[in-house]
Subunit: 352 residues, 2 copies
């Protein structure tokens, strides 16, 4: 209001107004536990308040070598899977005084690499790779190199999914979850179980596929390549893949579909509906992830449960521990997953 000069207020003006040195002003503003007499402290605080003083974080960061900035790298923040993780990360970050930068990589190596560089330039304190590692030629090495630079600088890096990076990680048990779900379908009497895979260059997608194959192998059931469909973790292309099933001779058609993630499973649900197939009467469907969405589709989706928001929280909590030099746990933490059976699966009907 009354202030007529454009120049912004620094700690110098605060010190002046309080009649102390900048050193003293800094000591009360930065709330270190350095001893400052109570009257002096009050005068500084008062001066700061009167001037609407806003301590410049950038300047502070330059001195302290801590930016209080963390970043979460996601495939797409509007994908509910990543949105949930991000929410968990941001909650903990905020409580601890960190700001959260969100970076959409679209699972493109170039974008991911560029973000890591930008974050390094910014001296971000930590980077969380929420998505799985990309398996593309030379890429894991390139990324590791850049990440090593971040590490060398004192930045913390973790992953929240199966990844090529050699950094601490917290993960849900993708292999075990996929294996268990497949076993459950077998228990329900299914023998021809189709699997809609995720992007082939995504490590975590492949791990889930491995879990599916392991369960079949254990049950002595041959893996039929025709039942492994290509998906891309998004709903869009899934319908087409499912449609292909109609071309199979009835005796070769799967009685169950296991999709590598919930989005894909929901795409399958939609595709099947359009084909006039009833779920679970004509065919069972299940997913992986247990998005909030899984409970509100029709029929509600049987899926492998993982608490994504909590995964985000745990990740950020661990990142902070690393930054504080308090990280004692083992590098790789794997959380058990569990199966949630809802209405989209049922025991196989006896035919004929």
């Amino acid at each position: 209001m009354g202030s007529r000069d454009i120049s912004s207020i620094s700690i110098v003006q605060v010190a002046e107004r309080a009649g102390v040195s900048v050193a003293t002003a800094s000591r009360v503003i930065s709330k270190t536990n350095y001893p400052v007499s109570e009257p002096t402290r009050q005068r500084v605080l008062a001066a700061a308040a009167e001037l609407n003083y806003s301590p410049n974080s950038l300047a502070r960061s330059m001195k302290t070598q801590r930016s209080n900035l963390v970043a979460v790298l996601v495939g797409d923040n509007s994908d509910p899977y990543f949105a949930e993780i991000t929410r968990g990360v941001e909650d903990v970050a905020n409580e601890a005084g960190y700001l959260t930068i969100v970076c959409n990589t679209d699972r493109k190596p170039a974008k991911e690499l560029h973000y890591v560089q930008t974050l390094q330039d910014l001296r971000a304190d930590g980077i969380i790779f929420a998505g799985g590692g990309l398996q593309e030629p030379d890429y894991p090495e390139q990324l590791q190199l850049k990440v090593n630079e971040v590490l060398r600088r004192g930045g913390a890096v973790i992953t929240l999914s199966a990844h090529t990076l050699q950094v601490p990680s917290i993960q849900a048990d993708s292999f075990g979850g996929a294996r268990q779900m497949t076993m459950r379908l077998l228990e329900l009497g299914h023998r021809r179980i189709a699997f809609i895979a995720g992007p082939s260059n995504l490590l975590v997608a492949n791990v889930r596929l491995q879990g599916y194959m392991a369960a079949l192998a254990e049950a002595g059931i041959p893996i039929s390549p025709g039942l492994i469909l290509q998906g891309n973790f998004s709903e869009s292309d899934t319908e087409r893949a499912v449609r292909g099933l109609a071309n199979l001779a009835p005796e070769h058609r799967p009685t169950a579909i296991f999709a590598a993630n919930d989005e894909t499973a929901i795409g399958a649900l939609l595709g099947l509906r359009k084909m006039g197939w009833k779920v679970p009467e004509d065919i069972s469907v299940c997913g992986f992830g247990d998005l909030p969405l899984a409970q509100r589709v029709v029929p509600t989706l049987t899926t492998v449960h993982m608490d994504l928001r909590y995964l985000g929280r745990a990740g950020m909590t661990r990142l902070i521990a690393i930054l504080n030099g308090e990280d004692t746990v083992e590098p790789l933490v794997i959380w058990p997953t569990s199966i949630v059976e809802r209405d989209s699966t049922s025991a196989i009907r006896v035919l004929s």
Copy 2:
């Protein structure tokens, strides 16, 4: 690899290695169009590459008074409404060299205020209020004061929803959309149209309610308070609200429900299903927002369309224009909304 000293590399070492002054080094690194001889430029670039030089953005920002950081304030980043907007913002931000900070306010004044202060301290270049303004005692004034500080500093601030803040804004036409949707229901023969409102302290929610009431008034239909149900923009409590409808005498029951947003409408769909009511046969339901989700619920949801991702894009584009002093458009830009009719609404059945 071979580097054995911990000290990080600054532009000084790059200059040394290239055999030039820091000024020259800076001129090529910061890619200004300042003339530098080609051989010199190459030597600097080479030195930077060999040293794995990462220019310190914080230091740069201190000089240039530009942080290249923007923030989007959302109610909850895992709410698809905000997730879509955030995606649009981040896309444009990334293309323009900005990093995007996401802040979950949970529509709590204290959190919102705290974020704004933190962002001011960080010297964020811009702040985007994605959610609607909160109408709570004294709050609009307090927020405006803090925002004014950001503005004075040279930061840009915009809103993407009906808001109390006096800053540039891009908005979908909530009033018009709600009015139009209500008119459409009237056209379909509905006379008892219930409205499930949003949080009462949220400006944009109230604007939608106004639109609904305006349409009824224009049609000469008295507004019956019993048909205005309290919601909170989330799916959770909505079921309960809907359940109350069963208690009404059949001749007082609404034949259509208009929910103030899609999440609420979907909650209504779920509640009605549990009550055994068929949509749209027994009752029509429609929402507001046209989330991606609206197309995959059953029945697919009739709703007021607004392109949220594009709203985010437009918002960030405008923010950049403001920062560059190129914003010429009027303060308040209102986009028309349109109605998308899907399977959840139908003409009223002739009773008896």
